[in-house]
C-alpha cells in the first residue's frame, strides 16, 4: 500500500509540472482561441535558456528564473507580434483560424531545427547542480526534491495567474478579450495587444516550467515534442482555457503515468491516457471539471 502512495506522490509532483508546462498553452488558447503547436518548442527554448544561464554563470538553477521568465516573455510577445499577428489580421472574420494553427506548427519546425543546427543533437544535463538526485526521505518513502520544488512552482504560478486575471486591470482586459473580442474592442481594448501579452505570458510560464525541469531533466532539441502531446491532452482534460484545469489535468496524467505501471507494462499507460482523453472528449468536452473558463 505504501508504495502506491509513494507512486501517487511522485505522480502528483511530476503531473503538476506537466500542468505547469500546459498552463501557458491553455492561457494562450483561452485568449486567442488557437492551439499553439509551438508550445513544446517554446518550452524547449526555455530549457536551453535556463541551461545556458546556469552553466555560464554557475548560479543556483532556480535563480535562472530571473533571466528565463523575462527573456521568454519578450520572446513570446515578439513571436506573436511579428509572426502570428499578421495571420490574425488576415483572418479577422474567421472564428477559429486554422491557418494560425499551421503557422504555429511552422514555428515549431523552425525552432526545433534551428536549435539542432546551433547546439547540435547532444543531450545536456546541468553539471554543477546542487539539486541533482536530492531525495527527501519520508519514512520508507522517497520524494524527489526538485520535483517538490516544481510542484510548488506549479501551484504558485497557477495561483498567481489566477489572481492576475481576476484582480488586475490588465488581467480583466485579457479576460474580456477572451470572452468576446469584439465587445472588448468596443470597450477600447486593443485585442492584438492583449494577444501579444497573453502569448508573452504563456511563453513566460513555459519558462517557469523549464526552470523547474532543468535540474532533473535532459535538454535536447526535440525535448519539446515529448511534452507537446502531453500538454494538449492535459488542457483538454482540464478544459481548454481553464487555468486551474491545467494543473488538475496535469496531475491526473501524472497519476496515471505513475500509478498505472504498477499494475501493467508501462507502455500501456500511453494507451490509457489516450483512452481517457477520448472518453472526456466525448462525454464531457468541456473538460473533467466542467469549467469552460474559470476566469
Amino acid at each position: 500500500m505504501l508504495y502506491i502512495i509513494e507512486d501517487a506522490i511522485n505522480g502528483i509532483l511530476m503531473g503538476s509540472i506537466y500542468g505547469l508546462a500546459a498552463l501557458g498553452l491553455t492561457l494562450i488558447f483561452g485568449v486567442l482561441k488557437v492551439i499553439n503547436f509551438a508550445h513544446g518548442s517554446l518550452l524547449m527554448v526555455s530549457m536551453y535558456v535556463a541551461y545556458w544561464a546556469v552553466t555560464l554563470t554557475g548560479l543556483h538553477p532556480y535563480i535562472a528564473l530571473v533571466l528565463v521568465v523575462p527573456v521568454m516573455f519578450i520572446f513570446g510577445y515578439l513571436l506573436q507580434d511579428i509572426v502570428i499577428k499578421p495571420i490574425f489580421k488576415a483572418e479577422k472574420n474567421v472564428r477559429e483560424p486554422i491557418t494560425v494553427i499551421i503557422v504555429t506548427t511552422g514555428v515549431w519546425y523552425i525552432l526545433d531545427n534551428l536549435t539542432l543546427l546551433i547546439f547540435g543533437p547532444q543531450y545536456r544535463n546541468l553539471e554543477a547542480n546542487p539539486l541533482r538526485g536530492k531525495m527527501l526521505e519520508l519514512g520508507e518513502m522517497l520524494i524527489s526534491v526538485p520535483k517538490l520544488w516544481g510542484f510548488g512552482a506549479a501551484v504558485l504560478t497557477t495561483l498567481a495567474i489566477h489572481l492576475f486575471l481576476q484582480r488586475t486591470a490588465t488581467g480583466r482586459a485579457i479576460r474580456a478579450t477572451s470572452l468576446d473580442r469584439e465587445a472588448a474592442s468596443l470597450m477600447g481594448i486593443n485585442a492584438y495587444k492583449i494577444y501579444n501579452l497573453a502569448f508573452g505570458i504563456g511563453t513566460a510560464i513555459a519558462g517557469v516550467a523549464a526552470v523547474a525541469l532543468v535540474p532533473f531533466y535532459n535538454v535536447f532539441p526535440t525535448v519539446g515534442v515529448l511534452f507537446d502531446i502531453k500538454c494538449f491532452i492535459i488542457v483538454v482534460l482540464g478544459g481548454l482555457g481553464s487555468i486551474g484545469g491545467a494543473l488538475l489535468g496535469g496531475i491526473i496524467i501524472g497519476l496515471i503515468e505513475s500509478v498505472a505501471p504498477q499494475f501493467m507494462a508501462a507502455t500501456w499507460t500511453e494507451a490509457i491516457v489516450y483512452g481517457l482523453f477520448l472518453l472526456v472528449l466525448f462525454v464531457k468536452p468541456s473538460g473533467i471539471f466542467g469549467v469552460k473558463h474559470d476566469w
Binding site: 547540435g120 544535463n125 535532459n218 532539441p221 501524472g254
Partner: protein, 409 residues
Amino acid sequence: MNILQKIAVPVVAFSMLAGTSAFAENVKIGNIEPMSGPSASLGQQGKAAREMAVEEINAAGGIKSLGGMKLELIYADSESKPEKGVAEAERLINTEKVHLLTGCWNSAVTYPTTAVAERYGIPFVVPVSVADKITEQGFKTVFRIAAKDSWWTRDQFAFLKDMQAEFNTPVKKLAFVYENGDWGTGFAAQWKKLAEEGGYEVVLDEPYPSTSTDLSPVVQKIKRAKPDVLLLTSNAADAILLTNTLAEYNVQLKAIIGSGGGHADPSFMKAVGKNAAQIFDIGEWETDVNKPGAKEANEKYKAKYGQNLSGEAVDAYLAIYVIADALERAGSLEPAKILEALRATDLSSGPGMIVGYDKVAFDETGQNKHAALVIVQVNDTGNGLERITVWPKNARRAGYTPVFPMAVK
C-alpha cells in the same frame, strides 16, 4: 506547353545540380544516416567517423588498384524514418550513381533500405544496425560489420555467467527493462529465451515508451521486483533519465548491463556523471582496447570532434576501411566485382582494425563472422569516468578488477 516548361525548368536545374558530381572520378559511397530527428546524435557521430577514415585513405593515396582513385562520401538524412531511407537509397543509387551504400543505424530504416540496394545489386555495408533479420533476408548485397542482436544478448549472458564464477556471486533474478521499439523488443525476446536456458528467474519484463518524460514509476517497479541484475536497452534520453532515477531511488543491484545505444552515447556519461559508475555496457569497441592505432585514432577523433569514439562510430570507421580494402582487391567499380571482393574479405590489419576482434570476414548471409563484443564497466580510476574493458577476460584492461557486485552507494 508554357506551364510544363515552367515545371520542367526547375526539375532539370535540380537534376543538373545533382548530376554535377557524376563527372568527378571518385568512388562514391552513399551514406544514409539520421542527421536530424530523434537519433541525430548517432547519425552525426557516424558521419564524423566516416569522414576521418576517408580523409586518411585519400591522404594515403586513395585506391591504388584504381589508379589512386579517391573516396567520396555522399550523405542523406533519413530522419530515422524508413520511407525517407528508402527514397534516399533510390536517389543515391539512381541519381548520385553511388558505387556502394552504408547506413542506416536505425534497424527499422536499414531493413527496408537494404532491399532497395538488393534490387539494384548495389553493395550495402551496414556498420551497425543490430536486428538479426537484416542479414537474414537472403540478400546477396548486404554485409554487416557489427554483431547482430542475438550475439549481443548471447554475450551479455555469457558475461554474466563468467562474472558469477569469477566473483563467486550467484545471480538468480533478472529484470528486463527496454524501450518499446523494434530494437528493445528484439533484445528482450532474446533475453527471455536465454534466461530460460540459463535457469534464471525473470522478475520483471518491462517495456516503456522511449518518449517517456518520467521513468520513476519504472524505477519503482525495478526496486520492488528486487532483481539481482538489470538488463537495459535504452536510447540516450531514456538511458540518462533511467540512470539518474535509479540513483535517486537508491536501487541496489548486483549489476546493471546496458546494450549500447543510449548507454554508449558520448553525452550519456557527461549527463549522468557519477551515477554512471559501475554500470556495465556492451559494445564493439573501447578507447582502451589493446590494439595498435586505437589510441591514436581516438585522440585524433577527439581533437577533431570533441568527443570519444563510440562503438557505433568505430564500426562506421572500420566500414570505410573494409570498403577500401574490397575496392583495392576488386580493382573495378563494377558492382559485381565489388560484391565479389566484399564476399572474399579477410581483413585483419590496417588502420581500420582498431576493433576488439581480429578479423573481418563475412559468412554466406553477409554477417561478419568474427564480430565480437566487449563489455565495459564505467568507472573512475583516477582519470575521471571512463569506459573500461572488462570482458572477455583476455581483453580486460591490465590492472583493473571489475566491481561485481556493485558497491552499495
